[in-house]
């Protein structure tokens, strides 16, 4: 097992390096510089500005400088908000995004699993069909449709909940964005859990377990359930990516000061260091999560540990 974890870890480091390199090169290819707007600028001032941001060095020197800064946790200055560093922007936005993202994932996992398992246990019943129809809807309706609808119903018509703002992470302000973000995850996880459960219930080893005369509860808990977590675990990576993507939209709709919104604003303003910094932070998150998922796999399926 430790060897397995170390191998996974060695896999993660070059991944991060290549991602950083790719984003860096991409940003470097961008036509037009950050100071193009400053039309009547004195060439000398411009030269000074470029020097200050290391824009005159060769690409490789710039990359190495950036990488060096990165290793010390320095993501460089923002080009648009000159008084702020990229690190600062991320530090402000990250707690917001992580709060709603994690809440949505937790809710998605717990409700999704319960729905999927119940549907599989009641296979081909009315309950099964109802849950799966609801799940199908949840998967098909995009977040930026559900979110405005939630606002319309619970915020504007019923006036139960605030429709925007963060307000220090007050629970009322969290409910709608987290719900909108969680719905597709609940739906997807329920579908995966149901499928895996049905497959697992029909295996030979579950038949063996029944032949042992074990009670139904023991059969389900000890022999059926475990493999259900394997496809769910492999879905965690894409699910987190989906929540991050969704949170960009959600933060925009609900006016939450997270890094998703910062990312979009930066992309619209061509504030490349911020865009880069956020992409790198997101990628690091996902790489780390995939690492955890791989380790979880090892725990779930003893056959994987050897490979």
């Amino acid at each position: 097992m430790p060897g397995y974890i170390i191998r996974r870890l060695f896999f993660a480091i070059p991944t991060m390096f290549v991602i950083i390199l790719l984003t860096f090169l991409l940003m470097h290819m961008a036509p037009g510089g950050p100071f193009d707007d400053l039309v009547d600028i004195d060439p000398e001032v411009l030269a000074n500005l470029r020097a200050a941001y290391n824009l005159d060095d060769t690409v490789w020197k710039q990359f190495l400088a950036y990488l060096g800064g990165l290793l010390q946790g320095d993501l460089g200055p923002s080009l648009v908000y000159r008084e702020q560093t990229v690190g600062h922007i991320i530090a402000v936005g990250l707690p917001v995004s992580v709060t709603i993202g994690l809440s949505a994932m937790t809710i998605g996992l717990s409700i999704g699993l319960v729905c999927g398992i119940v549907a599989a246990l009641k296979h081909n019943s009315v309950l099964d069909y109802t849950l799966m129809a609801a799940a199908m809807t949840g998967v098909a309706v995009p977040t930026f449709v559900t979110a405005p609808l939630l606002i319309l119903i619970f915020g504007l018509y019923l006036s139960w909940l605030p429709i925007s703002g963060w307000n220090g992470g007050q629970i009322q302000h969290l409910i709608l964005p987290v719900t909108a973000l969680a719905i597709p995850k609940i739906a997807a996880i329920a579908r995966i859990a149901r499928g895996a459960m049905l497959e697992s219930i029909n295996t030979d080893y579950v038949r063996t377990a029944r032949a042992k005369g074990l009670g139904e509860f023991k059969v389900i808990v000890h022999h059926v359930l475990r493999p259900v977590f394997i496809p769910i675990t492999s879905y965690l990576g894409p699910a987190i990516a989906g929540v991050m993507t969704g949170s960009v939209i959600i933060e925009k709709i609900f006016g939450l000061p997270g890094i998703g919104r910062a990312f979009v604003d930066a992309a619209l303003n061509r504030d490349y260091p911020v865009v880069m910094g956020i992409v790198i932070v997101y990628a690091a998150f996902i790489v780390l999560l995939n690492l955890i998922v791989d380790i979880l796999y090892g725990f779930l399926d003893p056959r994987i540990r050897q490979t």
Binding site: H123, Y205, T208, A211, G213, L214, G215, K218, H222, P302
Partner: protein, 323 residues
């Protein structure tokens, strides 16, 4: 051979499939006595395994069974889960064919053994462990203590099959259904395991129902043999009679198709031509007619019922065998 342990009357097993209904087992009637070993022989798809699964209440969701099965005086066909769970795993066990797929891959073998003892005999973990290791030693599982916390994939095929057998033996059952317990193994291990089961049967007075497509295996182990074809019993009788006085052309063909040590090695083994019929649309007459070398006109129009040919030897065939 005295008291009846299991009596199965008119057992039918059907499977609902997309475009109709598969008649896997039709009107199967037989008895198992205490301490005897009965072989059920037939090609794959002849309904051997499905009839046993039906008796154990382990049919897949799309399967239904009708008829009557009486085990130790209790009617058990389609009985409730509670009733079956008291019998299954304790006094009636099954050894499955595929030991790789049949063992839960993510559970240590020790745990898979112990849970049976904990469930049925109320043992605590430590006692269950001791007893399980004892049984593993009986089935000649090498180094059971060291391997107790291994996972199925870490064991060889022979070891896994021994685990399957040990699972069935844990509670000293009165009836064991062994579904081709040796087909997945190579020939030397196969011989070992069969030899072992033979000794075991004498030793603990268990009745064994041996499901196999290999007449050699059946001859080696069984007192009586039931031959099945296309979901029906076509012949049943003592081992001796089945081998020396087979009454059904199918049994005769099976016997000819069994490789023999004393046969001329250059001679081809006579195979049975054709394929078993589609169980969704069985012919009106005898299902074996198309492949039968003794078929008469009557065989196609009418289905022969089982009838007593001599002593307690039954066969379902119109053709009277000479001698």
């Amino acid at each position: 051979m005295s008291a009846t342990l299991l009596k199965c009357t008119d057992l039918c097993v059907r499977f609902a499939v997309k475009d109709g209904c598969v008649h896997a087992v039709e009107n199967l009637t037989f008895e198992i006595h205490r301490g005897e070993c009965v072989g059920i022989v037939g090609e794959s798809g002849s309904g051997k395994t499905q009839s046993v699964l039906a008796i154990m209440g382990l049919l897949p969701r799309n399967g239904t069974s009708t008829g009557n099965v009486v085990y130790k005086g209790q009617s058990i066909l389609n009985a409730s889960r509670q009733v079956m769970n008291k019998i299954r795993g304790e006094s009636m066990c099954m050894i499955f064919q595929d030991a790789m797929a049949g063992l839960t891959p993510f559970m240590q073998i020790g745990d898979q053994l112990c849970e049976v003892l904990i469930e049925h005999q109320g043992l605590n973990r430590a006692d269950a462990r001791d007893r399980a290791i004892e049984v593993l030693e009986i089935v000649q599982f090498p180094q059971p203590k060291r391997r107790f916390s291994m996972y199925p994939h870490e064991l060889s095929g022979g070891m896994r099959q021994r685990i399957m057998i040990a699972l069935a033996l844990l509670c000293r059952p009165q009836l064991i259904f062994a579904d081709e317990p040796t087909t997945a193994l190579d020939i030397t291990i196969q011989a070992q395991i069969l030899e072992f089961m033979k000794g075991l049967q004498k030793h603990i007075e268990t009745s064994i129902v041996m499901i196999t497509h290999d007449l050699g295996v059946a001859a080696n182990l069984c007192d009586r043999i039931i031959v099945m074809y296309a979901g029906r019993m076509v012949e049943s009788g003592s081992v001796k009679d089945i081998f020396f006085r087979p009454q059904h052309p199918y049994t005769q063909a099976l016997l000819r198709a069994t490789p023999r040590l004393d046969a001329d090695p250059d001679e081809d083994i006579p195979l049975i031509p054709g394929r078993p019929p589609n169980l969704q649309e069985l012919p009106v007459g005898c299902a074996f007619t198309e492949r039968c070398d003794q078929a008469q006109k009557r065989c196609m129009a009418e289905r022969p019922e089982l009838s007593q040919k001599f002593d307690d030897h039954l066969a379902a065939c119109f053709v009277e065998q000479t001698k």
